[in-house]
Symmetry: C2
Subunit: 369 residues, 2 copies
C-alpha cells in the first residue's frame, strides 16, 4: 500500500466514482447494465428478485478507531448478502452510496471499496450503482442488495409451525465479545506509551467474527443439497432473542429454546469470564453473528442431526405458550429482545458508544421473570 | 395535525418501523412481499428490473430550517422516480433507510413519511423495505428505487448519434432560484422581529420547483404515445451542463446547444434580475430541475415540434467538435460542468451552506473560453 493521500475535492464526485468503481467487472448474467446511467438494469427472467438495504453510520454502527476501512467495506457488503441468504436466495447485485466528510481522503475510500470488492468477489456479486457525496460529519454507508430465487425456494419468517425444530448455524456471541475486546484495547491504548501494541493472540476468532463476518452461503447450499427446505429463516443480526421473537410474531407461534444448547465458542466463553459477563446473555443478545436461524419440520430431525455446523436449539410451540428459554435447572424464562436499541439516548453518544447502544449491559440478562 | 411529540426511544426501532410503514399497502403486481422480512420479494417476469439509489444528508443536500419534512420526504422519493423515468421505465418499489438523531420525534419522522407516502400514491409506487437507526448528528435519508421496463424500451445515456436533436422538458433554473429565495428569506428572518412572515407572493412557482419537484412521468408517457423513442435520455439533477457532458461522454459525441433556446420561466428570470445573477448560468448549472434531457433522431423533428412542454435546444455532433454553447451573438463557448461539487471544502460547511456547495457562484459562468 502506498501512502499517497489525495483530497477528494481534487477528483470531484464523478472522478471519485469512476476511480472507485473501475475494478468491478460485471459477473452475473442478470446484470445487464451497471454503473454509468440513471439506474442499473437487471434482468431476472423467471426468478423472483429480492431486495434488501442497510444503512451504516459512523459513531452508531461502527467506530473507525478500531475498525479498518477495508474490513468495514467487507462487512457492510456481507451483512446485506446475509439478508438475501436468509431468504434462501442468492445475492447478485449491490448499490453502494457513501457520504464522506473531508477528513477522508481518496485512499481511505479506496480502502473501503477494496473491502467491498473483496466481498463481491468472494460471494459472486456485482456492484451496479450508487451515489457518493459529501457529509458534514463522518462516514455514511448505505448498501442495497438485489438477489434472486425461484419462487418455490424462498423462505420467509412466517412459515414456522408448532413442533418444528429450531436450528442455528455456527456459534453465537463471538462478534459481541470481539467488540468488547476491541473497545477495551482501545481504552488501554489511549492511555499507553507510544508504540503500544495490543496483544490479541488466542483471540483471533472473536476478532474476526466482529471485524470480518461471513454470510452463511455454505449453510444455504448444504440445506439444499440435503433436501431440507426450512419453514422459516432469518439471519442473526440483532441477537438470537430478538430474531426468535421476530419469527414467533411473523409465524404466530411460540418457542422453547434450551439454554444448554446455545452454541458458544471457547474463545467467547473465555472472554465472557474475563469480562465477568453472563455468557448466555452475550450469546442471546450480542448480535452481529450473521448466523442463520431457521426452523424445519420435525420429520427432518435425522437429516439435521447429520449436518456439520448446525445446532438444534429448541422447538416451535403454539402461540399461547409464548417464547421462553428452558434454563439448565429446568425453569422457564420469557425471552425478551434486548438487542440493538439504537434510539435510547443517542444524542449524547460519543463515537465510541456504538457498542453501548448496540448491546445490553454486562450485568443484564436476556431473560427475565 | 396534532402537536403530540413522542420520543423515538419510547417506540424502539421496530416499533417505529411498524408505525411508519403501516399505511403503505402494496399496489403493484410485482410487489410479492414488502416490509417484514430480511428482504422484499419482487417478481419482474419478462420485464427488466431497474434500480437506482440516492443518499440525502442533512447539511449537504437539505436544510431543515426552510424545508418542511413532508416536502423533503416527497422530494426524496420523487428524485428516485425521476431516475427510473429517465431510463424510459416505470418506478415500482422503493426502500427507505433513515438515520435519525434524537432531536427528531416520532411525529417529525411521520411527517417525512407522509411526504414519501404521498409521492408513492401519486406515482403508483410501493414501499417495500428499509431500515431505521439512530444517527449521531442530523437526518440521513437513503432511498433505493426499483423500476421496470421492457428490454426494447430502455433508453440509456449512450445512444446519442450525430445529427440527433437535443430536447429538454419544462424549464430550467427555477429550483435553483427557489433555493436562493429561501436562503435569503431565512437570513432576513434570522434578524427580523418575532412574527416576521416572508412574502413569497408571485414566487410560488420557483418555490414549488425547489420544495416539491415532480418527476416527468407525463413526458415519458407523451413520448410513447407519439411514437418517439429517444436515442439517449437522463434527468437534469446536477444541471444541464453536467448532464450534457454525461451524454456526450457516454455516447462519444459532441453537442451544440443554443443559448437563446434554453427554456426559462418568467419567475426564474425575475429572481435572477433581483439577485443580479447570470440567468443562463443559473439555468445551465442550477440543478435539481428533474426535467428530462433527451435526444431524438433528426427524422422526429416534426413530431417533437408538436409536443407541448418540450423544447429543442440543439443538436448532437461528432465527438471531435466537443460540447459547446452557441451564444446569442453567434460565438461558441465550451460547456463545462459547474454543478454540484459537494466535495469542495465541505468540512467547514455549516448546515446552511448546502446551496453554496451545490451551485456555482453568482458571478461565475457556466461556459468559458
Amino acid at each position: 500500500m502506498e501512502n499517497k493521500q489525495t483530497e477528494i475535492s481534487t477528483l470531484g464526485e464523478f472522478g471519485l466514482i469512476d476511480r472507485l468503481t473501475r475494478d468491478f467487472p460485471l459477473k452475473n448474467e442478470s446484470s445487464h447494465k451497471g454503473i454509468g446511467d440513471d439506474a442499473a438494469v437487471l434482468g431476472f427472467g423467471d426468478k423472483e428478485a429480492l431486495v434488501t438495504t442497510d444503512l451504516l453510520l459512523e459513531g452508531i454502527h461502527f467506530d473507525l478507531r478500531y475498525v479498518p476501512l477495508k474490513h468495514l467495506g467487507y462487512k457492510a457488503a456481507v451483512v446485506n448478502f446475509s439478508d438475501i441468504y436468509a431468504m434462501n436466495g442468492t445475492p447478485k447485485q449491490i448499490t453502494v452510496s457513501l457520504g464522506v466528510s473531508s477528513r477522508f481522503t481518496v485512499e481511505h475510500i479506496e480502502e473501503l471499496y477494496a473491502g467491498i470488492r473483496l466481498a463481491c468477489e468472494v460471494y459472486g456479486v456485482d456492484l451496479v450503482g450508487g451515489d457518493t457525496s459529501a457529509s458534514v460529519t463522518g462516514l455514511v454507508i448505505s448498501i442495497t442488495c438485489l438477489g434472486e430465487a425461484a419462487k418455490e425456494d424462498i423462505v420467509y419468517r412466517s412459515g414456522a409451525k408448532p413442533t418444528d425444530l429450531i436450528c442455528v448455524s455456527g456459534d453465537l456471541g463471538a462478534a459481541y465479545m470481539g467488540l468488547q475486546l476491541l473497545e477495551r484495547e482501545n481504552r488501554v491504548a489511549a492511555g499507553a506509551e507510544p508504540g503500544f501494541q495490543p496483544d490479541f493472540s488466542g483471540k483471533e476468532y472473536i476478532l474476526e467474527r466482529q471485524l470480518k463476518p461471513e454470510a452463511r452461503k455454505d449453510i444455504v447450499k448444504m440445506l439444499a443439497e440435503n433436501g431440507i427446505k426450512p419453514t422459516s429463516m432469518m439471519d442473526v443480526s440483532d441477537g438470537l432473542s430478538s430474531e426468535l421473537l421476530h419469527i414467533c410474531k411473523s409465524s404466530d407461534v411460540g418457542c422453547r429454546v434450551y439454554e444448554d444448547r446455545i452454541p458458544i465458542d471457547y474463545q467467547t466463553a473465555v472472554m465472557a469470564e474475563e469480562f465477568n459477563m453472563n455468557l448466555v446473555t452475550a450469546a442471546m443478545n450480542g448480535g452481529e453473528d450473521y448466523e442463520l436461524l431457521f426452523t424445519v419440520p420435525l420429520a427432518d430431525n435425522e437429516k439435521i442431526e447429520k449436518l456439520k455446523g448446525v445446532t438444534m436449539i429448541g422447538y416451535v410451540t403454539k402461540p399461547e405458550l409464548g417464547a421462553a428459554m428452558v434454563t439448565r435447572d429446568g425453569g422457564e424464562l420469557p425471552i425478551r429482545a434486548q438487542g440493538w436499541n439504537a434510539f435510547a439516548d443517542n444524542s449524547a453518544a460519543p463515537a465510541s458508544s456504538a457498542a453501548d447502544d448496540a448491546v445490553p449491559q454486562a450485568d443484564s440478562t436476556d431473560v427475565e421473570k
